[in-house]
Amino acid sequence: MIIQYCRILFIGALIGIFLVQPVVGQIAQSANDAATACKDAERDAEQHTSGTIWFVAGCGLGILGVVGAYVIKPDAPASKMIGKSQEYAAAYSDCYKEKAQSIQTKNAWYGCGTEAVLYGLYFALVVAAATSTK
């Protein structure tokens, strides 16, 4: 009975090693690929996306600049996907787009806000000047 039990345990362990482990290993590798891809994509997006340009767009074009920041989709560099797994490529593409667009929109809003504040100050000065001359 004990021998029978040990044999089942042994076979179970073998199944675990030869069948389950590769699957678990593959899942872990996929998760690892995706995490690395996201880190790489965010780093690249920060390098490639100019916050200054989008700030100027928001400042110069106002709300149109902000709309542009949402509409214009940043493209991830295809060369970064050479020799990379599908999980890496998919995660890289998603994370790059997300990060680059967040830089675009954040800076466009800052630019738009700056423009609004400057207009506000301008009108306040005009009103103040008009009031003081009365």
Binding site: A78, M81, I82, Q86, S93
Partner: protein, 229 residues
């Protein structure tokens, strides 16, 4: 970046070609010191600007770039990823390929204007100003040729700081042209430098490329993940 520079160079050097294939080995060292090596073969067909990269190391991968579509196929996993972009996926590979036979490595047609040349013996240096449309986004460009062979290409940021520096070496004569088979590019990033080393072997021009490569189709039944940029 380097591959695109090299391909411009390659295509100008060898005029009148329809197809090209070249084996490559690429080593990328990131600003964090991470090393990434890939090997494979690049195939290009001029008539429809189709670019196929068959990667053999570190994994088996087929990369096809046509217009706005990038297809990644993984033969071992029998799975694929199709990325559709809102604009043509011409960078970094295809943009340079749509303009073969261009003078001055494509800079003139991209809107760059020659601002200065300097010759010392067999060395010719030329400075190119950024296109008017790209002011504030793209910087100037510098090319250095030695005995009519491109040896150095430098691109600058709009503020004048250097962005990339590419060195071309290991020239080989193919037909009447000299081709650089080694290209080392240094990218100057905010957090350090990124180095890309490219070695090319066995360039072939105008040799038939099998249909299974240039007109690649994903095998029926392969699961395809679609991504829209």
């Amino acid at each position: 970046m380097t591959q695109c520079l090299f391909l411009v160079f390659l295509m100008q050097a060898v005029s009148g070609f329809e197809t090209m294939s070249v084996r490559f080995e690429r080593e990328l060292i990131s600003e964090l010191g991470e090393r990434d090596v890939s090997k494979g073969t690049i195939f290009y067909r001029q008539s429809d600007a189709e670019l196929v990269v068959r990667v053999t190391y570190p994994i088996s991968q087929v990369m096809v770039i046509v217009g706005k579509t990038l297809l990644l196929y993984y033969p071992d996993q029998k799975s694929a990823l199709e990325i559709k972009s809102s604009i043509p996926l011409s960078l970094p590979f295809v943009a340079t390929m749509v303009a073969p036979y261009r003078a001055n490595y494509g800079l003139t047609e991209m809107g760059f204007q020659l601002s200065k040349t300097e010759r010392r013996g067999d060395t010719l240096a030329s400075m190119w100003n950024a296109p008017a449309k790209g002011q504030g986004v793209v910087g100037n460009f510098k090319l250095v040729e030695f005995k009519r062979r491109l040896v150095l290409a430098e691109s600058f940021k709009p503020d004048g700081q250097i962005a990339t520096k590419a060195l071309f070496s290991n020239y080989r004569k193919i037909g009447n042209s000299n081709i650089a088979l080694e290209v080392v590019t240094t990218g100057f990033k905010a957090n350090g430098i990124e180095i890309e080393k490219l070695n090319f072997q066995d360039p072939h021009f105008n040799e038939p490329i099998p249909d299974s490569i240039m007109n690649f189709h994903i095998p029926p039944g392969t699961p395809v993940k679609h991504v829209q940029w």
